[in-house]
């Protein structure tokens, strides 16, 4: 899951100005509008913020003489709402989190893809047939990037061995210091993992009740419920010293700017978020859409995805890893994307990673209600 704020730790006035100017320039040139959606040289892209950064797409635009116009959403619910309310042809490509793929597929919003069109063979074997992107043996989304969610902590306050289990959140030291990312899914997923539920989102009523009880017992430990922007400042100013259900997509950038934070995948396991690209049904620009996905999953596109300024991600393509190690070895080391060395695939090999999925046996609403109640306790 990307973070949309490009210069958050930099709260200097110049940082603000720079971000503002850049944002305004970007908004003017690449913002999606329905009126221009049908123009042949426009690719309409529904995506998390930041994915129309020129760093990512300038090469594609030049090569195909098109303009990528982005409609940004924050959160899968908003993505589904936008796509539901738009006429066919409004969007050509959609970037979605894996757990929303089955909803896109069930509502018949995305096209079946031909696996031969895409460099899936370049991917790590684990990701060549990623379960959440295939339905009845047919491909509907091509993975572009991923990352892990575990337990993020303040390294001045906690030692790695103290946070090797989610139990650290209930410790005396963590009283009033456990911050929450205000989204039920990863937060409650972590609690479910701490209860030993694997997979964490496919649990029966009894286990769901136990997760609820365990979650509510965390209330005295809670410092607050933070939006994306506030989770950065809370980790920085020490208001939150332990945060479950977030990952290096937050802590890596903070650490690089000097904040003492890190993320660990506790013994009970962590979650994986995964983004993929799909072709929106009804697009008259199927070819262009296909080329965009091919570009993003090519070694060059993958390296850009991994090293994008605002949000560091892991990439599924081994060919992308190779190119990254050749051209930017330092970045490869920081991102833990080094071949034949300890890297992000180790957690996979250790079987510590579970997919982030929507609740399987309860409704989204049931989980959300528990989360709302927890917040208001």
């Amino acid at each position: 899951m990307p973070k949309p704020f490009s210069s958050l730790p930099d709260i200097s006035r110049r940082g603000f100005l720079k971000a503002g100017v850049a944002g305004a320039a970007l908004a003017a040139s690449s913002r999606w509008s329905l009126a221009e959606a049908a123009e042949p040289n426009v690719l309409n892209y529904l995506s998390w913020p930041g994915n129309a950064d020129p760093y990512l797409i300038a090469d594609f635009e030049k090569a195909h003489n098109v303009k990528v116009k982005i409609k940004e959403y924050v959160g899968g619910d908003q993505m589904l709402a936008v796509i539901n309310q738009s006429p066919p042809g409004a969007f050509d490509v959609v970037l979605a989190d894996a757990e929303y793929m089955h909803l896109l597929h069930a509502a018949d919003f995305v096209e079946e893809l031909d696996p031969a069109d895409y460099p899936l063979k370049d991917f790590w074997p684990e990701f060549q047939k990623f379960p959440l992107h295939w339905f009845d043996g047919k491909l509907y989304g091509v993975m572009t990037d991923f990352g892990y969610l575990g337990l993020s902590y303040n390294t001045d306050v906690f030692k790695p061995e103290e946070v090797s289990s989610y139990a650290a959140m209930w410790s005396e030291k963590a009283k009033g210091k456990v911050g929450f990312f205000d989204w039920y899914l990863p937060s409650m997923g972590s609690i479910s993992l701490s209860n030993g539920n694997r997979p964490p989102f496919d649990i029966d009523e009894a286990h769901f009740a136990a997760v609820k009880e365990k979650l509510f017992s965390l209330k005295p430990q809670a410092s607050g419920f933070y939006t994306i922007a506030d989770i950065f400042s809370s980790l920085t100013n020490g208001r939150a010293q332990l945060v479950p259900g977030i990952g290096e997509w937050i802590t890596l950038g903070l650490r690089q700017s000097g904040v003492p934070v890190d993320t660990i995948i506790p013994a009970e396991g962590g979650l994986q978020w995964t983004e993929s690209l799909s072709i929106v049904k009804g697009t008259p620009k199927r070819d262009l859409a296909r080329k965009f996905i091919q570009y993003t999953t090519s070694p060059e596109g993958q390296v850009k995805m991994a090293t994008k300024v605002d949000n560091k991600k892991s990439i599924p393509s081994i060919a992308g890893w190779k190119l990254l190690n050749e051209t930017m070895p330092k970045e490869a080391e920081i991102l833990r994307l080094e071949l034949n060395k300890p890297n992000v695939m180790d957690e996979y090999a250790a079987k510590k990673i579970n997919f982030r999925q929507l609740p399987q046996q309860q409704s989204i609403e049931d989980w959300n209600d528990v989360w709302s109640e927890f917040k208001s306790l």
């Binding site: 959160g75 039920y184 933070y226 100013n237 208001r239 709302s372």
Partner: protein
């Protein structure tokens, strides 16, 4: 009399008078305001109420007439708790605002030399036009564990206070919003008091405290009610301070609205919360107006 009524009576009278009647011009001047109110206030409000009866099917709003949204929200524990909590903090904020604003406005209006008074009023107006969000972020920097106050305390007394996230920080944030407006209202009211009344009271031997208590405060009673209810209104609907000063712990009604929308695009249920908030605010204003009138009758 509401604007619409005023317009209507203006228009009604036109028939009885000639076209050149002095009532025509004010009525015509009032038309744009009435239109503005209708388009940007009455119509959206009506739509907000209508939406509360709609349903959401696979993230899409569908016209319907269902009471399920009302039932679900009004009977839910989180809503009731948020309602009570939001009411409490807004009331506290209104009281704190008046406690700070009254002496401040009195000082500005009566105790400062003219140039200083103008400067003070200017300084009060400026924040109204600056970003509230930015001011709250600034408070975070002041109050946070690694912030300015704690750095000074650590250096001087080796002490650390948990200032951010709690009632203190929340009220500081809300006062940032309410104080400038409340003080401005009261400064204008104090400045508008008939000075001859004050002189008369002083000539009759009243001390300053008695003058304030028996002459000044009664004459600005309405302004006090306005300042208090405005502070309540601002605090009641505020989203920024509860979010960034307490980290939504616990959530207020505004936060509940956002949460409700985030959870499956539930605009109808969020509208129920919104309409409930408007009803409560309307009741508060009616109560204050009624109390003001009752007080006047007693005089």
């Amino acid at each position: 009399m509401t604007l619409v009524e005023r317009m209507r009576s203006g228009l009604g009278r036109r028939g009885a008078r000639t076209a050149a009647s002095p009532a025509v011009l004010p009525a015509m001047l009032g038309v744009p305001v009435g239109l503005w109110q209708a388009v940007f206030f009455a119509a959206p409000l009506g739509f907000l109420v209508v939406v509360t009866f709609w349903t959401v099917k696979s993230f899409r709003l569908e016209p319907d007439f269902s009471l399920a949204n009302w039932e679900r929200i009004l009977l839910s524990g989180p809503f009731q708790r948020a309602l009570l909590y939001t009411f409490e903090i807004s009331l506290l904020s209104a009281v704190l605002t008046l406690l700070v604003a009254l002496p401040a406005a009195y000082t500005i209006a009566f105790r400062l030399p003219r140039w200083l008074r103008d400067l003070a009023v200017t300084l009060l107006i400026v924040p109204v036009f600056s970003s509230y969000m930015l001011r709250i972020y600034a408070w975070q920097i002041v109050l946070s564990p690694g912030g300015i106050i704690n750095s000074v305390l650590r250096f001087l007394l080796d002490l650390e206070l948990n200032l951010l996230g709690g009632q203190i920080s929340l009220q500081v944030g809300l006062l940032t919003l309410t104080l400038p407006v409340a003080i401005l209202i009261l400064v204008m009211a104090f400045s508008g008091i008939d000075r001859t009344l004050i002189e008369a009271a002083e000539n009759l031997g009243c001390r300053r405290v008695r003058v304030i208590w028996h002459v000044m405060l009664p004459s600005i009673r309405r302004a006090i009610a306005l300042a208090g209810s405005t502070a309540f209104l601002l605090a009641f609907g505020d989203y920024i301070s509860p979010l960034f000063m307490t980290g939504s712990k616990p959530p207020t009604l505004s936060i509940l609205i956002v949460d409700t929308v985030k959870s499956g695009s539930q605009w109808p249920r969020a509208s129920v919360v919104g309409v409930s908030m408007l009803v409560i605010l309307a009741l508060v204003f009616l109560a204050v107006a009624w109390a003001g009138r009752a007080g006047k009758g007693g005089k």
